[in-house]
Symmetry: C2
Subunit: 423 residues, 2 copies
Amino acid sequence: MTTLQDCRARDAADPLRALRDLFTIPAGVIYLDGNSLGVMPAAAPARIAAAVREEWGTQLIRAWNASGWFDLPQRLGDRLARLVGAQPGELVCTDSTSVNLFKVLSAALKIAAEDAPQRRLVVSERSNFPTDLYIAEGLCRERGYRLQLVDAPEQIAALLPETAVLMLTHVNYRTGAMHDMAAMSAAAHAAGALAVWDLAHSAGAVPVDLNGGGADFAVGCGYKYLNGGPGAPAFVWVHPRHAQRFWQPLSGWWGHAAPFAFTPDYQPAPGIARYLCGTQPILSLTGLECGLDTVLAAEPLGGMAALRAKSLALTDLFIALVEERCAGHGLELVTPRAHAQRGSQVCLSRSEGAYAIVQALIARGVIGDYRAGDAQMPDILRFGFTPLYLGFEDVWNAVEHLCEVLASEEWRRSEFNAKHAVT
Amino acid sequence: MTTLQDCRARDAADPLRALRDLFTIPAGVIYLDGNSLGVMPAAAPARIAAAVREEWGTQLIRAWNASGWFDLPQRLGDRLARLVGAQPGELVCTDSTSVNLFKVLSAALKIAAEDAPQRRLVVSERSNFPTDLYIAEGLCRERGYRLQLVDAPEQIAALLPETAVLMLTHVNYRTGAMHDMAAMSAAAHAAGALAVWDLAHSAGAVPVDLNGGGADFAVGCGYKYLNGGPGAPAFVWVHPRHAQRFWQPLSGWWGHAAPFAFTPDYQPAPGIARYLCGTQPILSLTGLECGLDTVLAAEPLGGMAALRAKSLALTDLFIALVEERCAGHGLELVTPRAHAQRGSQVCLSRSEGAYAIVQALIARGVIGDYRAGDAQMPDILRFGFTPLYLGFEDVWNAVEHLCEVLASEEWRRSEFNAKHAVT
């Protein structure tokens, strides 16, 4: 049996432990929701205050040159590229994940229409993050494609011969199950389809190798494991073999080859810059810069490989402690046990009270979240593990609270069963 | 002849003078570029710091409920609606102007395709803000329409019988010329076309009556006269008669009827909320909230009508002083003299040195900007007048500097002729 002392010893021996000091973790909180909104970097308040007072307040319009606003999406993109197996110049930080998915799926469908016009399917998983499906649904309707959703990844292979674009999220937002990106991309390519990946729950959480993994297009989120702050701009990556082939349809001035020439006709910028559109929210981009700093701070300590090793150790420990200490309380593990199939979160299901148990935990300062079930999936208690700022003792304490909430049945109290606007 | 004393007397008698204290104007600066990026509200640093430290840093994911992040685009939209003749529930603050234009132009083209399928033109002005033309160019190509650009507004009428959508910017970004929105919309409707308006240089600067003016769709900018901070989210308005008719193609989760139900199929929210797409940059939206506060602070003092009266007084004075004091220096007035045709800026052209003159003025703390000419238009010195924070003495001093720069020929110095990345 693992003990609290074991956990403390592991924290003391953890070479990444010092990275926790890069964050401001609220007192009394064990934060297991970094897969929804990452913790604030300690440097963020001063850095954002400087962007407000010095860049906006004092430099005003001169900040476009003096503070390099114009290149910010590319500068941040070049830094983020290192975390996802991309090269400088291949990735920009901009807009929202949904808007970026619209851009890349539009481009992918254009390529497919030219190279393989007989293919009329966009294939994805019914359990994919809904906004990805909504964007695909709209585009398919517009372009005359059919969005085919599968219930299990094994059903994909049979569809590939008719598939124009295979659109997958690398780590499932609800279950934490992770795809083998290289294998799925290779299968898509072998069958003549393109592979579009959403890295929302991957970037900063698990190693990703976009170039090595055979992806064609990718998008991802800035405010989850990248700790960029609420609604921080997202990112978009396009394989260099595709980047110059088409415009994306959101052809705004920031993606123009000569954005300050103010010519009436659109000429797309070379490379990934054409995936920019309108003026970007500089204050929120500044937050993203602070978040990227925290993940890149792990580079001298082993980078994403070291973060991944710790993430797996944390999720392994959580699973083991839940099974040791909460046995008999009706919790079922939803997330795969196999490391190769697990992202950086652990999801548990329970036939009753999942929502209220999460609320009772939040009241105790253990912040995870709840995702409602449906025909395919039970209600879920979702716990994200960000190795940058979580330790092994945190995991121990979180499980201790979970045991107490279940043993005491305090989750049955009415206050924990009242639904909030946002769950 | 107007004197400095006259200007000071007008400031002393100005009922809007106290609004200047709502801003932090850098020492030594006369800021005539609020049509590009508005001055920072004095309340912004503390308000944004609270969003960073308290909402993000402390509440973390709980801020979605505790700080009302989810309704922020609508809450700000309802407040902004008052400034542009719209009703609560008709307008949301979100994304960039370019992205919002894509949404509304897509919707307008869908309506046209259904109601008037024989019409194949989108009509706009060659002098329209380029990003609007780029977005229209992409959509026209996609949907099989032709983008027809006119050199003068008088050429529009003849095209209307074939026009699906008339897309205009209310106040021209370069010349400051203002359209009669009601007359142009009425002409479009009489001929069976739809009217899409860009209010980038109008919202917060001139009275706008979207419902009374017969507009079908409108977009606008948050960081110019609304003082929302660099790259602050833009806004989108749709007339209630159109709002529920179609999806816009950027069908992301924030525009879903039940965004937290996480269903795999898209059901658009009723009304304007369906024009939301992905997660919004909360810190930049918070900046916009501060900016809206400054414009709404004029409401007890007469609101947009009072701001408009002062704006015209400021631009009239600037024109008069330039003509009195800079005569013989080759400056030509580009902006219309007629009040009904003038926005809140004054543009001057000069056959030589326009760029360098602007740089020399900036070095003196008089911040305007330069817009390069083309076949239709000479090089321009552009001066924006935000009545919230500019006074009559500012105008006097700005013209004084302009006279000195021209008389001394200091603009010929090499430092003022070196081009910056962003001009």
